[in-house]
């Protein structure tokens, strides 16, 4: 019993991060019950031609002071729309911190390493403690799934002291 409680305590913080994904998949399941769902790959939103995203600030290799760091996100040949809004040639930003590109045929995870900007934000303040970090942007469609082909920035490295 004690073991179960201890395990529960360890798991609960992760549940907060994972639950949005869980709710999303629960929603997909209810869709699946109503109609056969097409293969996941076929559902990806086509990327607009020549669309690309980039990290406007900070720069590659930059050394920053620890604490609240402002970033701005550039998007060219694609517009920004909040999550849940289906509108041609748009998407919303996700910031990947210290992680590779996640699987492209499912919603981008929502964790402390995968930040969602589903309110249509084009800049963010993030808190970083001293260390070396990689930062990369990945656009997601209304359902948080990357476009096809994916619209992703260069992955940059910053040093925080």
């Amino acid at each position: 019993m004690q073991l179960i409680q201890r395990t529960a305590r360890a798991v609960i913080p992760f549940v907060t991060f994972l639950s949005i994904g869980t709710v999303a998949s629960a929603q997909q399941h209810s869709h699946a019950a109503q109609a056969p769902s097409p293969p996941a790959v076929g559902r990806r939103t086509p990327a607009p031609q020549d669309a690309y995203v980039y990290i406007g600030w900070p720069n590659e290799g930059q050394t920053l002071n620890a604490g609240r760091i402002k970033m701005w996100f550039g998007a060219r040949n694609i517009g920004v729309a909040p999550a849940g809004v289906t509108f041609a040639n748009t998407g919303h930003h996700h910031l990947l911190i210290n992680v590779p590109i996640p699987p492209l045929d499912e919603p981008i995870p929502n964790t402390k390493n995968h930040l969602h900007f589903g309110a249509g934000q084009t800049e963010a303040y993030i808190d970083l403690t001293p260390g070396t970090y990689t930062l990369q942007l990945l656009m997601g469609d209304a359902e948080h799934v990357p476009h096809d082909p994916p619209i992703t920035s260069k992955r940059i490295t910053v040093h925080v002291r």
Binding site: W72, G79, V80, V85, N110, T122
Partner: protein, 143 residues
């Protein structure tokens, strides 16, 4: 029933997302603000073709027609004063609309001095209350 379930889904995910974002990403220190990232005031631009980068703090971008709280879309005012703030922003060569949620615009200007200013508009192209607009900058285009 399906609608109710979907509403609950949106509510739950919004709460979870809000809770999550607070954990790592914080709101900016001030209220919402729009500003021109590039060009800078007084920038000299050869041949007058450039990408204008639009900055937004403390709010989100949504395409025209999408009615969501704390969102809007950018308008670029070229060589003109702020229009009336209680009605739809005009749509002409001096008032460019970016109703597809764009945050960058390709601009072409003839040689000379030009002013540029951003004005944020809501789903119906009407400025917010209070209005969100950038400072007006001047660029100099050379042949």
């Amino acid at each position: 029933m399906k609608r109710v379930r979907y509403g609950v889904f949106i509510l739950v995910s919004t709460l979870l997302l809000a809770g999550h974002v607070n954990a790592q990403s914080q709101p900016p220190p001030e209220g919402a603000k729009v500003y021109i990232i590039w060009p800078g005031d007084g920038q000299v631009i050869r041949r007058g073709k450039f990408w204008l980068r639009m900055g937004l703090s403390g709010a989100g971008v949504a395409p025209a027609g999408v009615d969501k709280p704390n969102t809007g879309h950018h308008h670029v005012l070229i060589n003109t004063e702020l229009p009336a703030l209680d009605r739809e922003i005009p749509n002409d060569k001096n008032h460019l609309h970016f109703g597809r949620g764009q945050t960058e615009a390709r601009i072409e200007l003839p040689p000379g001095r030009h002013t540029l200013q951003l004005l944020f508009g809501d789903a119906n192209h009407v400025p917010h209350q209070p209005p969100l607009y950038s400072s007006k900058i001047t660029v100099i285009v050379t042949p």
